[in-house]
């Protein structure tokens, strides 16, 4: 009976949302960027007099100093135009990691969960896999402004390395306090960059470094610095969650 009601609700809501939204949305082929904020982000014309109409001056490989010059526009949006959202987002992750810690910590003891039998191949191969994974993770978050990837993806990859360590042997236990301190420092670093922007340029989270040549590793001003901090923070947070889940009551 309950399922029937839920099914009716499903169909009703699908009809309500679908038909209603269909009237206003520009879907698929009808979708254009014209006049949207996304277009101005791509053209890097947010701060010009007429963001939607002005001719584009953006060019890959050139040094024209426009709006941070990150080749990956998504990164420019995430850590540039909408950096404040990202600050909130890492805070949310920080809060969740704290919450998970609080829930598991409540029972007092902090021993790690013993695995039945660590995989032999895994424990042998982890020795040389580990540096590779960490290197790859670091590569992903240092090149976030040039290629797909960035702090969140790189951070997850590094957390996977910590998980590998847990899987490889029963002796390993992540340094919980150290991770928490690293989290705090990288989060505070992000905020201090924001406050430095406020002091130097008058706007919170504004860029205060030279923006360089689009496509070069040392470009895009403050963006790579922030993404490295986010990478560290996310890796510490997710590793912390891994170690909390691997702990035993």
């Amino acid at each position: 009976m309950k399922k029937v009601i839920a099914l009716l609700l499903f169909l009703g809501l699908l009809f309500f949302l679908g038909t209603g939204l269909e009237q206003g949305l520009k879907l698929g082929d009808r979708n254009t960027l014209a006049g949207k904020a996304g277009e101005a982000y791509l053209k890097r014309t947010v701060n010009s007099a007429d963001p939607s109409a002005s001719p584009s001056q953006v060019e890959y490989g050139s040094e024209t100093d426009i709006e941070e010059n990150a080749a990956n526009t998504l990164t420019a949006v995430v850590v540039g135009y909408r950096s404040f959202d990202t600050l909130g987002e890492v805070t949310v992750l920080f809060l969740a990691a704290t919450g998970v810690m609080a829930l598991f910590f409540a029972s007092g003891k902090k021993k790690r969960l013993a695995l039945a039998k660590p995989n032999f191949i895994l424990s042998v191969s982890s020795g040389f896999l580990l540096p590779l994974i960490i290197l790859f993770g670091a590569y992903v978050f240092t090149h976030g402004h040039l290629t797909p990837g960035g702090g969140f993806q790189g951070g997850t990859i590094i957390a996977a390395a910590v998980l590998l360590l847990y899987m490889a042997g029963n002796a390993y236990k992540a340094p919980a306090t150290g991770l928490k301190v690293l989290e705090g420092f990288s989060g505070a670093g992000y905020l201090l960059i924001g406050l430095a922007g406020l002091l130097l340029t008058g706007f919170f989270l504004n860029n205060f470094l030279p923006s360089g040549k689009m496509g070069a590793l040392f470009s895009a001003g403050v963006i790579p610095v922030v993404y490295i901090l986010i990478g560290l923070k996310v890796s510490a947070e997710l590793s912390g969650i891994v170690s909390d889940y691997m702990g035993e009551d």
Binding site: Q153, A159, A160
Partner: protein, 81 residues
Amino acid sequence: MINPGLSSLFIFLVFVASLLAVEAKKAFRAVLFMSLAGLLTAVIFVLWKAPDVAMTEAAIGAGFTTFLFLMALNRIRGKEK
């Protein structure tokens, strides 16, 4: 222009996988179907030209989340024995 058939097929697959995940009797199977749906979602993101999001979804959405679910199931089962 990508073939609209391709993305709609993948969407359908995600739909089926999520239906199976919701309706599965065993929690373990539900987790597997959920992570299948997550991976297929990442494929759709690639088709719709969002490689960054696809990477995040594959690493965090499908990978890390699945780990969390499996650990949770493991700990709950460990108690029930």
